[in-house]
């Protein structure tokens, strides 16, 4: 491994590759910041340019764009409640309330530190454990994925505020229902498409998140301007840009960051899970572990609630390189595009990669350390300026948010229908929010619903309709037992309090 590391260092630290990391993370941050536009399209369009490069340089560039986008995606989530990419939707849950409370600079700084920690710890794990973890990821079959998604659904309690539990459940069910729209993969039958071609491929998670968060929030602010007038009145008095994070706060988030990086990395390693699910699970996990006052802070501007998903999504994006590099299996859309690019360079990721092309394998990993440091250096000085965006008077800020959200969604699909759909959902979301329904559980249901159904049906197909896979497979059983414990824990706790 030491030899490999040296090869990696020698390749990654050539001037051209250092430039690639720079360009990659810079472009990635920018793409991530723009609401909607994600790394997949950016990388796909970049591939033809990379044909003239060395394969290692090409992959270093693409990887930089990917984790750069995950890093930068938090900015718009925190500032305007519009997720930059799907992986940073959960960042908005606590990041946006923090920014609204005048702590935008602090929130952005914590997001940057967490992203850095997640990315770096992920890169360490990638370095030391990639082949071993690849083997572990292959012990996950449909039954295990199903159990994992069930466990994820218990997170609904994390996303619903006090007294909203029933409403939260209802919204989760709504989310699961929305995930069934489109062509059913198991039978090829169209569900809830109403003969609309635009609905055949299902609803886009990003569209839903933008409509229910960014758009409906902007509309809400317009409807109830009085509630927010306090902060809008004296923008000069609040220092939006203050980066200060106290020692106590760092101590508070440190354990969350540690747990979330490991959790996020492992979820990222599983083909088919990815950064979005990792961020939701990390958020839920932290909420379940938090006690008393800290627990009630979740959803209202908890620092842990911000740090957890931000760490996990970066760790997961690093983790997704494990199946790509060691098995040649793309676990997500972005890594699928990268696999295509690698093959066209004449490089086949897989078990032979670090024998045949050690310079590619090791230099990408080394470049990730470099990239994460660069991202931190690039992002921190910018925060005070970006955060001042919020000092903009609401009458100017809101059209700006609406404009970027609509453009962002349009840029993903180039389809007018998506704009109408988004406005429609924003309208619904507005009504629901006025009735005090939480939106996050719907997104949770939507994210997990598709995989939940797909894996359950596949597990049933494989077991020939028997439900025995729920208790005969050790990993499945373990996950399900943990799920039950998580569900019962609050009851036990409240019982003790009585």
């Amino acid at each position: 491994m030491l030899e490999g590391l040296l090869t990696g260092l020698a390749t990654a630290l050539t001037p051209i590759n250092i430039v690639m990391v720079c360009v990659g993370v810079f472009a990635g941050t920018f793409i991530g910041m723009l609401p909607g536009l994600g790394p997949i399209s950016a990388i796909a369009l970049m591939i033809p340019i990379t044909y003239s490069f060395e394969p290692a340089s090409g992959l270093i560039l693409m990887a930089g764009v990917y984790y750069g986008a995950v890093f930068g995606g938090s900015t718009s989530s925190i500032l305007i409640n519009a997720p930059g990419i799907a992986g940073t939707v959960a960042t908005a849950f606590d990041g946006y309330p923090l920014a609204q409370a005048g702590k935008a600079g602090k929130a952005l700084a914590i997001a940057a530190y967490s992203s850095f920690a997640g990315g770096t710890i992920g890169a360490v794990l990638l370095l030391v454990a990639a082949p071993a973890l690849a083997a572990v990821s292959l012990s996950f079959q449909s039954a295990e994925y199903f159990a994992l998604m069930v466990m994820g659904l218990t997170a609904v309690s994390a996303f619903a505020g006090k007294g909203q539990f029933l409403k939260g459940m209802l919204m989760t069910v709504l989310g699961v229902m929305l995930s069934t729209v489109g062509m059913d993969n198991s039978t090829g039958i169209q569900r809830f498409t109403f003969g609309q071609l635009d609905l055949v491929e299902g609803l886009s998670f990003l569209l839903l998140a933008m409509a229910t968060f960014a758009l409906s929030e902007a509309l809400m602010t317009t409807l109830k301007p009085d509630e927010t007038s306090d902060s809008a009145e004296a923008p000069g008095q609040i220092d939006f840009g203050s980066l200060k994070v106290s020692k106590a706060e760092l101590r508070e988030i440190a354990p969350s960051v540690g747990r979330s990086s490991v959790l996020g990395f492992f979820i990222g390693v599983l083909p088919g899970a990815g950064a979005t699910i990792a961020s939701f699970l990390a958020y839920a996990c932290e909420q379940a572990l938090a006690k008393g006052h800290a627990r009630r802070q979740f959803g209202k501007g908890s620092l842990r609630g911000l740090a957890a998903p931000e760490t996990a999504n970066n760790a997961a994006s690093t983790g997704s390189f494990v199946p790509l590099l060691t098995l040649g299996i793309p676990g997500s859309g972005t890594t699928a595009v990268m696999l295509g690019a690698l093959i066209s360079y004449g490089i086949q990721p897989g078990p032979r990669l670090f024998v045949e092309h050690p310079e590619v394998f090791w230099s990408v990993i080394v470049s990730m350390y470099l990239g994460n440091v660069m991202l931190l250096i690039l992002n921190l000085p910018l925060i005070p300026y970006i955060a001042r965006l919020l000092a903009m008077p609401k009458p100017f800020l809101i059209p700006f948010i609406l404009f970027f959200s609509l453009i962002g969604v349009y840029l993903v699909s180039f389809n007018n229908f998506d704009i109408y759909l988004m406005v429609g959902f924003a309208g619904f979301a507005l009504v629901f929010r006025l009735l005090d329904f939480p939106m996050a559980p719907m997104l949770l249901g939507f994210v997990l619903g598709g995989l939940l159904e797909e894996n359950l049906r596949r597990a049933l197909l494989i077991s020939d309709g028997e439900l025995s896979f729920l208790w005969t497979r050790p990993i499945t059983l373990t996950i399900l037992i943990i799920t039950v414990i998580v569900l019962l824990l609050p009851l036990v706790r409240s019982g003790r309090n009585l």
Partner: protein
């Protein structure tokens, strides 16, 4: 010597004379950036511009409706799409038979099929199946014992190819236990994790894993052995009379005149000789498959018939 000089001069003149007849080709891609259709259109476009067969190529991604969105658009705007080529492949036939969208290849002007991929069947390296015959034997004795994974839904390509191969072995294709995954990579993970026994996929998606020794490809649905993997036997030589080709090709808007069609087919014909194409093809591991105009149309009609019968046998069509 002089003759040779004149000849080369002649060729030179001839080449400059063959200025691109086509000024501009606009590629309409019915899927998102980074997908198979996208790669085909951009690869072909690049080969055409680099070999100076056309001056400009532009691209437009329009995903939605499994490709139906772009089709509806091309039909609606046919009058101003004379320079547009839509990329498509075998799923077009399957989806139009299953009425995912109301269009079929007849609604467009088929220009040419340009590249081919073939179906293959792979097993894990440590699998008890040593050859395709082993798989068939197990399947014939107890079809329920054998799970076949694929990277697309039930009734779509990977499933149909598997059904076709087992049908040729004399078993009811309906008894194939097909396990759908939503992407080729996940289906491969499913095979490696031991969830499925056999993987039905395209050669391009499993070739490198085969070479790396992760999986063994037991059979290919091509007419002849593939140059890229000469060690893989065809189903035909194993005694099962079945072939299947997943074509990728181009369509013009409805009612495109013959003259323009000929112009396009000539351009594609020349493309095969270009070194630029050689590079693009090599890079992507594609196999040439040239079927221009009328030949393409006849081929599509026949493939539609085969697939239609299979879908009926499988109970997907009435």
């Amino acid at each position: 010597m002089l003759a040779a000089f004149l000849l080369s001069f002649g060729i030179f003149v001839g080449q400059t004379h063959a200025e691109p007849k086509l000024d501009k080709v606009h590629f309409l891609i019915p899927g998102g950036a980074g997908g198979g259709w996208d790669g085909t259109a951009r690869g072909v476009g690049q080969a055409l511009t680099q070999s100076k067969l056309i001056k400009h190529a532009s691209y437009q991604n329009m995903s939605g409706g499994g490709g139906g969105k772009a089709m509806a658009y091309l039909i609606k705007t046919a009058k101003r799409q004379r320079q547009t080529l839509m990329v498509n492949s075998t799923p077009l036939l399957i989806r139009s038979l299953q009425k995912v969208f109301p269009h079929s290849f007849r609604d467009f002007t088929p220009i040419a099929a340009v590249i081919a991929d073939y179906g293959v069947f792979a097993v894990r390296q440590d699998s008890a199946f040593k050859n395709w015959q082993d798989v068939v034997t197990v399947f014939q004795t107890n079809p329920r014992q054998l799970s076949v994974g694929g990277g697309s839904g039930r009734g779509s390509m990977d499933h149909l190819v598997a059904a076709m191969a087992f049908q040729a072995a004399g078993v009811n294709p309906k008894s194939v236990r097909y396990i759908p995954y939503d992407a080729g990579g996940k289906a491969l993970a499913g095979l490696l994790s031991g969830e499925t026994e056999v993987l039905s996929t395209g050669l391009g998606e499993a070739l490198e894993q085969h070479k790396a020794g992760q999986v063994r490809i037991l059979a290919i649905t091509a007419e002849k052995r593939s140059a890229a993997a000469p060690d893989i036997p065809t189903l035909k030589e194993l005694g099962y009379d079945v072939t299947f080709v997943n074509w990728r090709g181009f369509f013009g808007p409805p009612g495109l005149d013959d003259e323009t069609v000929t112009m396009y087919t000539q351009v594609f014909e020349k493309m095969y000789q270009a070194t630029a194409w050689e590079q693009v093809r090599e890079r992507n591991g594609w196999a040439d498959l040239y079927k221009p105009g009328a030949e393409f149309y006849a081929f599509l009609e026949e493939q539609e018939k085969t697939i239609g019968e299979l879908l009926k046998a499988l109970g997907f069509l009435q």
